[in-house]
Amino acid sequence: LAKTTQPISMDSYEGQEVNITCSHNNIATNDYITWYQQFPSQGPRFIIQGYKTKVTNEVASLFIPADRKSSTLSLPRVSLSDTAVYYCLVGDWDDKIIFGKGTRLHILP
C-alpha cells in the first residue's frame, strides 16, 4: 500500500483557487489516486479520481505528474462551504484503501 503525505491544514479565502498536494512516493503501477471530502459527522464524499496527467470534473481538477509520485487537487473559487477535511488515497481496485489523516481546509470570508 502506498503511503500518502498531505499538509495537516490549510487556510484560504473565499473566491481563491486552492491547491492541495499529496505525496505518494511508493505508488504502484496499478494504483489510482482518489480524493475525498469529509464534513463533520458525515461520510466522506468522492471528489475525483485519476491515474495520470490531468482529470477535471464539475467540482475539481486533479493534476498528476509523469512520475506519479505526487498529485495536486485543485479547487477553483472556493466558498465557505468548502471548509472540510480532504483525503488523498492511493490504491488499486483490488486492495483495501487506507485513509490517512487528511488535510483540514479552512476557508475564511
Binding site: S41, G43, F46, Q49, Y87, W93, D94, K96, G102
Partner: protein, 113 residues
C-alpha cells in the same frame, strides 16, 4: 437512485453489550467496506466484503465481525462493547475492488456508556 443507507443513525449501548449495525449498498455495488472514525480522528479500516466473502480486515480485535448477505447488504457486529468503541461507523460501497471510488453512507453513531 438511493445512496448507501445505514441503520440505525444513532445507537446507545452499555459496556459489555453487543451492537449490530446495518448497511445497504448502492444498487449494482458488490463491495462493502466498514470504517471506524472516533471523534476528531481519521478513518480506520475495519472490514471489506465482496461477493459475500471477507476480503480483508483491519487491525481490530475479533470481537469486531461482520457478514455480507446475498443481496450485498452487510452487518457489522461488535461484541463485548468497550467505552473506546464509541465512534462513527461508516459503511461504503463500490463496484468490485473499488473501481470508480467509494460511496459512503452517513454512518451510525455508536455511543457506549
Amino acid at each position: 437512485e438511493a445512496g448507501v443507507t445505514q441503520s440505525p443513525t444513532h445507537l446507545i449501548k452499555t459496556r459489555g453489550q453487543q451492537a449490530t449495525l446495518r448497511c445497504s449498498p448502492i444498487s449494482g455495488h458488490t463491495s462493502v467496506y466498514w470504517y471506524q472514525q472516533a471523534l476528531g480522528l481519521g478513518l480506520q479500516f475495519l472490514l471489506w466484503y465482496d461477493e459475500g466473502e471477507e476480503r480483508n480486515r483491519g487491525n481490530f480485535p475479533p470481537r469486531f465481525s461482520g457478514r455480507q448477505f446475498p443481496n450485498y447488504s452487510s452487518e457489522l457486529n461488535v461484541n463485548a462493547l468497550e467505552l473506546e468503541d464509541s465512534a462513527l461507523y461508516l459503511c461504503a460501497s463500490s463496484f468490485p475492488g473499488g473501481a470508480g471510488g467509494y460511496t459512503f453512507g452517513s454512518g451510525t453513531r455508536l455511543t457506549v456508556v
